[in-house]
Amino acid sequence: MEIVYEYVKKRSEFGRPCNFSDRPADLHLDIQPDAELAACFFALDSRDVGMQCAADMSEHEVNTERIESESRGINHVEGGWPNNVNPQEIEHTMRFRKKVEKDENYIKAILKLGTQMEYSIKQNNTIDIYEEYFEEEQVEEEEMTDAKEQPAAKTINVFRDPNEVKRTASSLSWHPDGNHKLAVGYSCLEFQRAAKGMSFDSYIWDIENRNQPELTLKPVSPLVSLEYNPKDSHILLGGSYNGQIAYWDTRKGGQPVEMSAIEHSHRDPVYKVIWLQSKTGTDAFSTSTDGQVLWWDIRNMKEPTERLVLDPSKKENLENALTAVSLEFETTMPTKFMVGTEQGLVVACNRKAKTPAEKIVCTYSGHRGPIYALQRNPFFPKYFLTVADWTARIWSEDIRESSIMSTTFDMAYLMDGCWSPVRPSVFFTVKMDGTVDVWDFLFKQNNPTLSLKVCDEALCSVRVQSNGRLLACGSQLGTATLLEISPGLYTMQRNERALANEMFERETRREKILEARLREIRLKERSRLEQVKEEEVQDAEGEESPEELIARAEKEFFQIVEAEIMKWKKELDSIRPTEMD
């Protein structure tokens, strides 16, 4: 059925002035209910409808607009001079000034102001009117408020990877002086997951400007590690994914100044490069998972100056070598260095050894996974921090069997860590669930003093600035976040050095005692076993076959488990009757 309404307007009424007036409603159409249609429907008596007595909410996402800011300079020119005086002409200005000096107002004003000024000057010279009367009390108050302050950290700036395909920010390096710049090396560390269009660039960011990197470094292959030269702040050394080392000069732009020859470089990604202390300031060494540690002089990149194969059996066999993931070097101890391996061992080496066999001094075992970070305590170089698997451990150089202190096993895998350069007992770690932990061993040992969730993806690298206040962490999606930590965490407390030293020594002593005890027990066991073996030989029983050994082990295991279950049941039973009471 067609519903048509004809609207009629006379031609003569077009263009007439409008007459706004009330008029009664005009019924145009009236459709009555159709009884036949009603027969097609029937009424439902009751219905079940779920209701919730809560306010209706809707979710919205808002993103603040990114403001791109640019720094510009302004050229100032002298102004204020009246029209007829040209400020460039000395003659004009002199004449103007002389004229003013003859003005009566000027004379009166200066005389008056002069007396006023003299009074103040003399006042300054007699006593210090700004003297602080109760300075010590103020300082004490400050210290007290600091102690009550909650440790906190806040994000200052976030630098995102400007490329479409996001890569991991695998290494960070602060500019050695001034601390205004952060070099971030980007690469894709997952095996063969690098996307086709992935850019190889790494960036140097100025911490004030988060929109655009200050300089783009263009290597041949993505950079896995990147370090500023502590002596010359224009030079950076990068270790790349294909095993080559390259160095850049920021004055010369983004292309590497020189790259190492590919035949003599590493065969796996270069996980760590460190600059060495030398007169020329051009020495560095690098390590990678191919099991080698190579020394380079950047002036001649065709060949490494020295090579060391991390073979624990000391035969220089590359196949047996331990694969290295981190490297450590302290400038106060230039002959020693340490390598952290994927197998969970820390290898301490001596650079000055005559034969390659003597280079490897000792190994420290105890970790269950690759050692991602290795650093000596800047205040007490005898103790070093390793970050691997789910714990961070502190070791003493003398004790090889185990660490002297360890954090509890975390839920997430630890990816990187570093000491605070201003406080001997504070260090930072980052985890795969995107949190940064700040540990203060003098304050709390079981939990981190501060745990902050920075982002949802894994955090892969962390570096503290040399003044201890700013912390940069890099994530898997290429975001580098800059955090500022609260003053309580970067000001040294009174006698902190002495306390930290005491604590480390105490833990070392404890470990030594434990080690001695363990050795005793082992000796006893061994002597007992020998006795038992003699008796067995007398009994002339054949050796147990492997299957029987396995069966025996299984039986013993189940026995122990059942004994434990019985013990727990008994405990539970003993608790329940008391509950009923």
Partner: protein, 101 residues
């Protein structure tokens, strides 16, 4: 008569300059043009430009808070020295002193 007064002005300025710790004197007019100065040209221009704005702001602040009030003297104490500004209707007298304590 006038020449006497001019001589007196010169004497006042010399007296101020000879006080202990005084590093420099600048006289600027209401538009911020330095009339007389004992410092070198670039410093004078810098001081004149910056302090002129400061005095204007300070004066307007004082008068905003209380319209009957007016700025009589301004002292800026910093770590290294003290800048004292005596404002008048048309001219400002600025003295930079190093308090020697």
């Amino acid at each position: 008569m006038q020449s006497d007064l001019i001589a007196e002005v010169e004497e006042t300025l010399k007296r101020i300059q000879s006080q202990k710790g005084v590093q420099g004197i600048i006289i600027i007019n209401a538009e911020g043009i330095p009339i007389k100065s004992t410092l070198d040209n670039s410093s004078t221009v810098q001081y004149a430009g910056l302090l002129h704005q400061l005095v204007m702001k300070t004066r307007s602040t004082v008068r905003d808070l209380d319209p009957q009030n007016d700025l009589t003297f301004l002292r800026v104490r910093s770590k290294k020295n003290e800048i004292m500004i005596a404002p008048d209707k048309d001219y400002f007298l600025i003295v930079i002193q190093n308090p020697s304590d």
